[in-house]
């Protein structure tokens, strides 16, 4: 009996578990990436001298290179080299084929009922498939690599019910920004979020990833969607293992937030906080130096499809640069096959290697002092994409594509 979170922990521990309990559990998968792995290795080595220094299970330990690929500096290349040495020693295959949060689900490493910990805050994305997945720091992940276990305080749950249908020009990203606006940047701190409602039930897995990805932007430990036929069909060709279709049973939610998507408009999060959300039509004339389409929030095929449909046969504004980075190799290949990448390149965009791209300000589209970017990212924090005086706005792939054409923040409804 309980929330989906309580159901997952009860299933794993074989006894009824309630929110507020502190539990130690076995994890199904452990993940870290090229920035967080080095500190995790340090913690792992410090902890694990006594039992031969092996990870708990190399097949369930995943290192993804995505934050600085290919290496942009000697420092990054050196970290990569050292991580490769560790991975080889441990029998772990390094994945360098896109953003960790896209690659983990694509490879079938995430299924309903799993408990997954990752050394990246957006690990909460996997909740879209009904897994309890959360971001942690490197030491927690080093401990999980060594022991296959971690501890949790089982969180209370906020239920966000999203009903209605998406109006013309409004997408899952706009719904997500509306949620952050309503809940605030710490309104879900220490809590799980369960997304329910008719719109969530109708959403594709990709759209659900967008919702769950930004649970952390409200402080959430995890964002969850109850697994259903859509989940099953997405997983069909990705994993053949059995998984439990857990669902909440008479859940006690801390509170419920209702969103009627039918009344939404295209939205923009203005710098420097993610809850600083306004309708696109109210932002006024904001000149944009660079747009960026990609990331674990919005770098999937449907995102690229919307943007390509807007840019088809057109050229981006001469004073604006556009960077496109597909979230994974799978997305990249499919976007290439469908002609989207050609559309972007013809329009004047740079198309980059699958990975995080410019989202963390280290390479491939860094911003100069005073510049402004509109991106499909999940964070608009000061200094995130380069110089601290640069400003970052967040919007949907459609808004980003429309803006690329005009050079200032633009309502996509005029271009669809």
């Amino acid at each position: 009996m309980g929330t989906l979170t309580e159901e997952i922990f009860s299933y794993k521990l074989g006894r009824p578990v309630e929110e507020g309990e502190t539990v130690v559990v076995d994890v199904d998968r452990v993940m870290s990436h090229d920035t967080t792995t080095p500190l995790a290795i340090q913690a792992f080595r410090k902890l694990n001298q006594q039992n031969g220094g092996r990870v708990f299970n190399p097949q369930r330990s995943h290192i993804v290179f995505d934050h600085i690929v290919p290496a942009a500096t000697i420092a990054a290349a050196t970290l990569h080299r050292d991580i490769r040495t560790f991975a080889q020693e441990q029998g772990i295959s390094i994945l360098q084929e896109g953003i960790c949060h896209q690659v983990m689900p694509e490879r079938g490493y995430v299924a309903p009922g799993d408990i997954i910990v990752g050394a990246d805050s957006h690990t909460c994305t996997y909740g879209a498939l009904g897994a309890f997945a959360t971001g942690m720091g490197s030491t927690d992940i080093g401990v999980a690599y060594a022991t296959g276990r971690t501890w949790f305080r089982v969180p209370q749950t906020i239920n966000i019910r999203i009903n209605g249908t998406l109006p013309f020009g409004v997408y899952a990203k706009d719904v997500t920004l509306e949620m952050v606006r309503r809940v605030g940047v710490d309104g879900a701190n220490y809590r799980a979020i369960e997304y329910t409602g008719e719109l969530v039930e109708q959403m594709s897995v990709s759209e659900r990833f967008t919702l769950c990805n930004m649970a952390i932007e409200m402080g959430g430990k995890v964002g969850l969607v109850v697994p259903d036929a859509t989940t099953r069909s997405w997983l069909r060709d990705r994993t053949d293992r059995e998984y439990p279709m857990l669902a909440p049973r008479n859940p006690r939610y801390e509170h419920v937030i209702e969103i009627d998507a039918s009344h939404l408009q295209p939205l923009i999060a203005c710098p420097p906080d993610v809850n600083n959300v306004v309708p696109v039509e109210e932002v006024g004339q904001v000149k944009i130096d660079q747009v960026f389409l990609g990331t674990c929030t919005n770098g999937r095929l449907d995102d690229l499809a919307i943007a390509a449909s807007i840019l088809q046969g057109k050229t981006i504004h001469p004073q604006t640069r556009m960077v496109v980075v597909p979230a994974s190799r799978e997305v990249y290949l499919e976007a290439m096959r469908l002609g989207y990448l050609e559309t972007f390149v013809q329009a004047g965009a740079s198309v980059g290697t699958p990975g995080c791209g410019p989202c963390i300000g280290r390479h491939y589209g860094v911003l100069a002092p005073g510049e402004r970017a509109l991106t499909t990212m999940n964070r608009n924090f000061t200094g995130r994409m380069g110089d601290p005086t640069a400003e970052i706005y967040l919007g949907s792939p459609a808004t980003v594509a429309a803006t690329a054409l005009t050079g200032f923040i633009t309502d996509p409804r005029d271009f669809l």
Binding site: A43, G135, G137, T139, D140, R153, D186, G219, F381, G383
Partner: protein, 162 residues
């Protein structure tokens, strides 16, 4: 004497240690850029034992442990906030950087004031104003990790994670 460095709400890990400076595990390197986006003079002027105070949701954003590691490497004795973002809080506890939640102390203190903190009892004394505050008690499991000096030390002590 320890001094207070006062910060506002929602100080995120990107401003504690920007992504362009955390491509390293060298603590001294991290310390050099700690809080550079919001308090450019901090890394230069902070004294060992000083106290960081902040409003709500301190350490929100990225899971990068470089953030508490940078603060620790600067010699900060303890971070006291009205509330912490979950991942930062856990990371700080894991690496042995003391963190206390005390709404009243933050509201009644100001930048540059002198402060004394008893980490064992959670008693915070603002020596400039003479006021004393009691921080919120820790979750019992967290208290055991803190008492051991970090999660690795805790596991070594217990023999396993339990």
């Amino acid at each position: 004497m320890a001094h207070i460095w006062m910060l506002g709400d929602n100080v995120n890990t990107d401003v504690i240690i920007p992504g362009r400076y955390n491509v390293t595990t060298d603590r001294a390197q991290l310390a050099r850029y700690c809080l550079c986006e919001v308090l450019p003079e901090f890394a230069q002027q902070v004294q060992a034992g000083d106290v960081l105070m902040a409003g709500h949701n301190f350490g929100c954003g990225s899971s990068r442990e470089h953030a508490p590691a940078a603060i620790q490497a600067c010699g900060v004795q303890v971070v006291i906030a009205r509330s912490f973002a979950r991942i930062f809080y856990r990371n700080a506890v894991n690496i042995g950087l003391p963190v206390l939640v005390c709404e009243e102390a933050v509201l009644a203190s100001a930048d540059g004031q002198e402060i004394e903190v008893d980490l064992a009892t959670g008693i915070i004394r603002n020596n400039t104003t003479g006021q004393t505050f009691q921080a919120e008690p820790l979750n019992p499991f967290v208290a055991r990790i803190v008492a051991a000096g970090g999660i690795i030390e805790y596991i070594h002590q217990e023999g396993t994670l339990r």
